[in-house]
Amino acid sequence: MSINKREVMIYSRYERFWHWSQAALIFTLFFTGLRIHGTHEILKFGQAVTIHTYAAYALLVLWAFTTFWHFTTGQWRQYLFKKGIMKVIRFYAYGILKGEPHPYKKSLQRKQNALQSLAYMTFMVIIGPALWISGIFYLLYNEWDQFAWAGDGIWAVALVHTAAAFAMGTFVIIHIYMTTTGKTPLHYVKTMITGYDKVELSEVEEAYLTQTKAVDIR
């Protein structure tokens, strides 16, 4: 059975739209969030709050649609735990410096390596929900301020929101750096923009995709 490398659309139009608008919103939220936290004073506090609030609404809507998309397309499976995570870690810590090849082969069913899946899963199951749940509590403070625990509650909400925001920032920094570890420093970014990447296809896969046009191939 022969294997061919073909340019395949691995990130569909919605997935790219989702990724980049999420990126823009997270940058906006992190920047304005740091202003509200008092880290910088580039914006006025009130402006930062307004922008932060609207960006948060937008991200909530985006996430709602994307969750729906993940489940209807079955793409949620991409995030499931994969074996070989130690190999990937070893590669990034050591192998990449020696010019070793990546231990993982990208395929249509396996767009992410084991480390990626774990990181994104953490993002989607822990960091993301911590932010939006605490954020919604923050936004709806007026609906629960009458309770005796509201005074302590707002501290707890702030603690969770701030901690998760720091985690998000850390994630983003590493995530952006990781995009430079492809064949060329901009390879992964290009892929995320065009949607196409070189993927190994078996003859059967190639024939099926050509026939059904389920996914674009160049």
Binding site: I36, H37, G38, E41, K44, F45, G46, V49, T53, I96, L97, K98, G99, L139, Y141, N142, D145, Q146, G151, I154, W155, A158, L159, T162, A163, A165, F166, A167, G169, T170, I173, I174, Y177, T180, T181
Partner: protein
Amino acid sequence: MERIRHVAACLLTALAVAGMPLSGAWATTADHSKFEALKGPFTSGPEVTKACLSCHTEASDQVMHSLHWTWDFNNEKTGERLGKARTFNSFCGTPLSNEPRCTSCHVGYGWTDVREKPPSQKEAVDCLVCHDTTKAYSKFPTDAGHPLYAPRMVKGKEVLPPDLAKVAQHVGKTSRDNCGACHFNGGGGDGVKHGDLDSSLSKPAKALDVHMSADGANMTCASCHTFNEHQPAGSRYVTKATDPHGLDMPKDDKDHATCQSCHSDTPHKQAKLNDHTDRVACQTCHIPEFARGGVATKTLWDWSTAGRTDENGKPIFIKGEHGHLKYSAEKGDFEYGENVRPVYKWFNGVMPQQVVGEKVEAVNGHVDLNPPLGDGRDPNARIWPFKEMHGKQPYDPVNKMLIVNHVFGKDDTALWTNFDPAKAFKAGMEYAGLPYSGKFEFVSTNYYWPITHMVAPKSDTVKCGECHAKDGRLDGIGGIYMPGRDGFWLLDILGYLALAGALGGVLVHGALRIIMNRKA
């Protein structure tokens, strides 16, 4: 339902405001200049009052039950018996022993001894001071509430008495100037006491006060401080620090002396701003500074230096900038402020007052005369703005009592006549019937004035970042979490370390990749 209530109240407010003519004269079915009883001539205030009562039969009785008359108030929350003659302030201290001067602001005639009740004759009520619309009537400063009845020389100038008949024939609803005659001039001069009440509110620009400006709502004091049977609403002794009742409907709420009475507890279009109303008083954001009308307010009164005379034995007076007395042999040292930023404190409406004759331990030589109570745990408390008046006042360290200061009078003990504090203090305490050791020292005092007037236009409100900042206006206000001001220091350290660590880590990693690739 809440919405209907809101709309109804807004309409009512709009109608009420629209119904206020600019001149302050109300359309009325009675022309007082045509009343036989008011033809005059009148030789005294009480004679005018007698004429008023011939129609307004219950007026005196109503006034005599009001705080304006009794100067006697039972604070049910603290159990204190208060009133002007019973509490200390940080200005002249107390009217006791200084009556004909201080009782010039009593709403009556001839109260010359505040140890006794005010005079009991119905004619002793002063109708004109509140209801004169000619601005010709005024109580003479030293005549226990009476106006002048004959020409008198004052500081070399002849002052003429008001034409009582003319004034009586032109009575009407109260105006800002009527109330201001006393309330703008408390503490002995324009703007001295409150900081948010002075003569600039007579005809204020909109930038100074949106409610009272003719370009704004042109409201009078009584628009909010509603009078029902001559009982005024809204008092410092029991401040409504919060108004959970919210919008007032005519059927059950006739007391409009809170912002919420007209604006409700959720007045902003932005939900995030409404989030604040459970913790922050409206005044805190909407009155960025007080004494904004060009009239300075007194911020310090130091009695300890009073009584200085020059080599000829003449009392010393020194004027500072703006022509205010900086030093007066009668009163000591002063400081003033204009456009003053308030101090902020939790306040649940209760301020225990320093009562005359009450024992008080001076802590580090300091006494708070009326500390506002409340904290972040108190659901009835809001963060309020205050004028913090600083004083230095006489104190008897043996009996542990603030001293009644006999300042006014043409006798041989009054401070302003004899410039001898020892004599004045002894006379004051004797007059008040209080024990006095003869020893005195001066303690520093704070006196708090809740700031609630001089509401600024929307564009001039306190900006978010002025409080949501590390050294902002609300620095030191505990019991709440404020983004921008508060944080968790450990989390912040860990968080910034994580960000810096990630950034440093990827930079090192990237550098290694470049170096190693070159080698390869």
